[in-house]
Symmetry: C2
């Protein structure tokens, strides 16, 4: 099928505007973002599984229960997490004031925060900021919003695609932030996606969940362990396509374009990893299940020693098999074949005598694909990650005795 | 009860000798160790759970099935892992030749290897080495053996204790090696313990397993995921105590002294972490189970962001709660209390306003205790780890936006 990549982000789809301002939570960077749909919209969300749920996560879950939302208010610089009853009051206040200023229902507002944990929001500053940001909405405000949700990100992340659905041009666009940290147990991952596609709440939620599991949850900086993570989507139906209410071809198209948007945003997060010099794609082939493939791919990409080996451009497949072997996935080592790029380095679980020069050539590139064939089932899972920077490698890359 | 710490290691107990030589697997460091009991001995072992099991692990499992062993032959510099049928033959050859030289049964020899994965052992060199090391045995050979099993370790690790059991002086001593790497998914952890205590094979195995779970498996460099890990113990009964055949007071004493030996050896491994500037003790109190406590303690100690916070001497308890929340342990955040040293920083899952100067004082020390009260059950679990060195912190410690 054909997608058309287009300029823009959360305001690319019809009827959406956005804004991003500096209200004073951070010293001088933008720290308050707003996304708004001029008409009522269906909404869906996926949230962190961390046992410590930040106040905005709790409030946004509540507000999305009816499957509707028109606005997303998000601050950076303070996570409003581990902030107790006061934090919940503050998150509700953010929704209420945003709703008041936009003349919508507080239940139509998604609240999001990212930043330092365990501090109360400076609500006077936030209040003034919300009054200002709600007056700054514009169809050109997407880039400002993308910038205002950044924490340690070095670059803002936005993407938009067009696709034909039911004879109409449907646009899906989004912004995201991830951490610049390489091992961000704590780094919030936020993604806000908008579309003018007409689709039922149930299928919107299903499509979002499916594509999030295959994008943000397949990168080592997926942050699905943070206290504040959320991926939220608004669909206002202004494209005029017949509402998608069954898993027909229109639905498949919608899922595919949404997957593209989420995959590109998640890859931008990985490429923004501080100190990263490599973009690693791990493809697990012939896995018995998606979960098996995901667990193995993430196990490889989360291994500091695998990361340091790639930084050192060292074809150390031993660290790859060990990272696989330490997961709880059942597989047969003697069936495992591994390729770096087009070079097979492991056959039937044992090392091959390969051309070191060829390996060096492959490892010199910024983008490297690690392909692992398990010989178990029919599932293929692809995940992405980065290497570890020199400073850390000076300690680890010399594992030779 | 009273232990007496004594000089020595695997040769501290009656009837044991050892040797460590340079045979040529490594360029110039010692790389072949031997431990030997002059009389038949009971033996027990615990091995890596990695799905890729190195050849020596497979062979040693076989040889320990009858609960007897008199010798441990261990090379460093080559792990003999992912080496297929050839690797198994080489490991068996190491046992056979060692047995031949010592005039014992090949089944009485434990084989161990640590080093690079996926390369065949240089057997001519190893053969010559075994002929030499078996002629170098001496009651003073322990330190050489401790040195010969090192890989990236900076210092060798040995300890020995005496305790009165059944009216006799029983000695338990050991040597260990861990990785110098901070996050050693791949670093082999080896521990060899000897004792002259008379004890049944069943109880020896039980005592070893129990104490290993509470020592080597409670440090972040536990390496229980490596392809080659093993903790092996020989007990030759020369102390002359009545053989321990039930879980009586003698058994309890034996377990306690063995726990002390294994805990000290495992702590030495942590303190040897390259670049480590802090020795972190995490104590989880009132956990619902040992496993819950272990999972939370290790989750905190394995978090790169917790480690970098302590390197930066930053009382960032938010990273601790997030590391806890991302585990699969069920607990109530609103019950969680956390102390750094004697300073409570978290009460009922929320931050406390604490004396920053007092916190700085505590965080300045090399040894820091993090105490977490879950308010769930009666289990207390203590684990140990290190911080992350400056080079890595330059990327991570500034997580403030």
């Amino acid at each position: 099928m054909v997608f058309n990549k287009v300029e823009g982000n959360v305001t690319a789809a019809r009827g959406f505007s956005a804004a991003g301002i500096h209200c004073g939570i951070k010293k001088n960077k933008k720290d308050l973002a707003l996304i708004y749909s001029e008409v009522p919209a269906k909404a869906a969300g996926t949230f962190t599984k961390n046992r410590f749920q930040a106040a905005p996560v709790i409030v946004s879950r509540e507000n999305l229960q009816n499957g509707k939302a028109r606005a997303v208010i998000c601050n950076s610089g303070n996570a409003n997490a581990c902030s107790g009853e006061q934090g919940l009051q503050d998150a509700r206040r953010m929704a209420a004031l945003t709703a008041e200023m936009l003349s919508i229902d507080p239940g139509e507002v998604v609240v999001s925060s990212t930043g330092v944990i365990g501090q109360y929001l400076p609500m006077e500053i936030v209040d003034a900021g919300i009054r200002q940001v709600t007056k700054s909405l514009s169809p050109q405000g997407g880039p400002d919003a993308a910038e205002a949700i950044m924490t340690t990100d070095l670059i803002s992340k936005e993407v938009a695609y067009e696709v034909q659905i039911g004879g109409e041009t449907v646009t899906v666009g989004g912004i995201a932030k991830g951490s610049g940290m390489i091992h961000p147990n704590m780094a919030t991952m936020l993604a806000f996606i908008t579309t003018d596609c007409a689709i039922s709440t149930e299928l919107l939620q299903k499509a979002l969940k499916y594509t999030v599991d295959r994008s943000y949850n397949l990168i080592t900086v997926d942050g699905d362990t943070s206290t504040n993570d959320m991926a939220v989507m608004l669909a206002n139906g202004l494209a005029g396509n017949a509402e998608i209410t069954s898993e027909n071809q229109d639905y498949q198209r919608f899922v595919e374009v949404l997957q593209r948007v989420n995959t590109e945003l998640s890859q931008k997060i990985v490429r923004d990893g501080e100190g990263a010099t490599k973009f690693l794609e791990v493809r697990i082939e012939h896995a018995a299940s998606f979960l098996d493939g995901k667990t193995l791919a993430m196990g490889i990409l989360d291994s500091n020693l695998v990361k340091t080996a790639f930084f050192g451009e060292d074809a150390n497949w031993g660290r790859i098999v060990s990272a696989m072997g330490q997961t709880d996935v059942e597989f047969y080592p003697e069936r495992v074949n591994i390729w770096l790029g087009d070079l097979q380095v492991t056959k039937d679980g044992q090392g091959l005598h390969f051309d070191e020069d060829h390996a060096k050539e492959i490892l010199k590139h910024k983008d490297i694909t690690i392909r692992v064939d398990l010989g178990m089932g029919e599932e293929t899972v692809t995940a992405w990650g980065s290497d570890l920077s020199y400073e850390y490698v000076t300690i680890n890359a010399s594992y030779r005795s």
